[in-house]
């Protein structure tokens, strides 16, 4: 007998809102990224020069976090290692 299958409803597409104001958690994440950059990547001045006060929306934060992660996590995009 096959296992019981539980249906999982789709999320309302209207839920997507990258312009939602970034909350304290996301703001803190961006600040942590910046701190890590300062300590480990002094040469990355371009990214560090971004004005943190300009990070108003989730889209703003995600764009910043994306760039920071790409710089910090040099293994990103490579095959996973155990």
């Amino acid at each position: 007998m096959p296992p019981k299958v539980i249906a999982v409803p789709k999320t309302d597409p209207a839920a997507y809102n990258p312009n939602r104001p970034a909350g304290t958690l996301l703001q803190a994440q961006a600040l942590h990224m910046r701190e890590a950059l300062i300590r480990h990547l002094h040469e990355m001045t371009t990214l560090l020069n971004i004005d943190m006060k300009s990070l108003k929306s989730e889209a703003d934060v995600s764009a910043y976090v994306h760039k920071a992660t790409a710089l910090l996590h040099t293994h990103a995009g490579k095959p996973a290692k155990k």
Partner: protein, 411 residues
């Protein structure tokens, strides 16, 4: 040692964001009396003195905006009902509505903090896992405070004395993260974040120093399918709405208010299915789904005392006028443990059953991983050393394949 423990090769932890136990699973008490949820008579006073009962009216989104307060002073108010810090005050869980009013400035809207889901109807994934495997009546956040310090307990077994969102980790290297402990001992461990625009949350310092620790969710799914999953994995949901690489829309799946709860359900289902659909992996893996903290949302259970971790947060740091010795836990959160070696309907008793209570918190995560894989051999805080571990829930009897559910995420 049980047969389930003998077979165990992988521990996977998925930590979601900012929902209380009663908010997500409280309604299950109606059908499953052993689950310490809601009777429907629990209440809080509002700022007009009216009694506000819990109501099964939670919505997936838009109901908890502004984001409910969950910083230390706010949680102190939620737990103690507004009594001034000092000896003799009693925790009564009567300050949630008052605290939310301080943000909403709207008495009616402040009542939203008492709303809870119809779990089986609204949350088919979390409620199914809770009732098909094991649910913890007594898993508490580690600190009555916000995300960063609570998640630190899952990674380090301590927050190094922090009760807020400060950057603590770079200044104190006295306690290694669970990932570093594992790798230094020749074991394997990885943090899977969702993608680069979401990234990892509180241990970004390790991105540069320990890049091999990290992977993406796609890599987790690939590792599950290819039998290359590390011994210990920690999974992070997507923390923000952002465009996908293909131009599509990526929704936050962390369930942090005001992100859509249903998207988090789908995320949990995806993680479960990645393990469940590999028969080999399914037999030798245990999955813990847990929330970092309650997010300011009502729960009726008073947090218990705990072993201090030797740190003290100053009165300035707590914002309450009183220091905090890390000697009591934060508010209760949902936590479920999944494995075919766990009998259906397992309910782990909490404070409602003092004689049999098993109290867990996020330090239980590194404690469990360290005890199982490293035989306890690591420098740890007293708090982590005393934390309850959860692998004792694995039994000698493995359930048949057709006795374990799968999720269809295509509806």
């Amino acid at each position: 040692m049980s047969a389930g423990l003998d077979n165990l090769k992988h521990i996977v932890v998925l930590m979601m964001e900012n929902r209380s136990f009663d908010h997500m699973l409280g309604s299950l008490k109606q059908k499953y009396p052993k689950i310490n949820g809601l009777t429907g008579n629990e209440s809080n006073p509002d700022t007009n003195g009216a009694i506000v009962k819990v109501q099964q009216k939670a919505q997936f989104q838009s109901q908890l905006d502004p984001d409910p307060d969950h910083h230390f002073p706010g949680v102190d108010l939620q737990i103690f009902g507004g009594a001034s810090p000092g000896p003799g005050r009693v925790a009564n869980m009567q300050g949630f509505v008052k605290d939310y009013f301080s943000q909403t400035k709207d008495v009616n809207r402040s009542h939203n903090i008492m709303y809870y889901f119809d779990s089986q109807k609204d949350l088919p994934v979390l409620s199914t896992l809770a009732t098909e495997y094991a649910v913890f009546n007594g898993w508490f956040s580690s600190i009555p405070g916000p995300t960063i310090c609570n998640r630190a307990f899952a990674h380090y077994g301590t927050s190094f004395g922090q009760v807020g969102m400060d950057i603590f980790y770079i200044l104190d290297t006295s306690i290694a993260s669970i990932y570093e402990r594992m790798i230094q001992a020749g074991h394997t461990a990885k943090i899977y974040y969702y993608d680069q625009p979401s990234s990892t949350m509180e241990i970004v310092n390790l991105l540069k120093n320990q890049p091999q620790i990290f992977g993406t969710l796609d890599q987790f799914v690939s590792d599950c399918a290819g039998n290359t999953l590390p011994e210990y994995s920690f999974i992070e949901p997507c923390y923000n709405d952002h465009p996908g690489a293909d131009g599509g829309q990526i929704l936050a799946s962390d369930q942090h208010p005001d992100h859509n709860v249903r998207e988090g359900e789908r995320f949990i289902a995806n993680v479960y299915n990645a393990i469940r659909t590999n028969p080999t992996l399914w037999q030798n893996t245990v999955l813990l789904v847990v929330y970092d903290e309650h997010g300011g949302i009502y729960d009726h259970v008073v947090p218990p005392a705990c072993t201090p971790d030797g740190k003290t947060a100053s009165a300035d740091a707590t914002g309450t006028g009183e220091p905090f010795a890390f000697d009591r836990l934060g508010i209760r959160v949902p936590a479920v443990l999944v494995s075919p070696w766990i009998p259906r309907g397992t309910v782990v008793p909490g404070t409602e059953d003092p004689a049999n209570a098993q109290i867990f918190e996020h330090a239980s995560i590194p404690a469990t991983v360290t005890n199982f894989f490293l035989k306890g051999d690591a420098k740890r805080t007293a708090r982590e050393q005393q934390a309850k571990t959860f692998l004792g829930l694995l039994t000698d009897q493995m359930r048949q394949d057709d006795d374990c559910v799968v999720f269809n995420n295509l509806q």
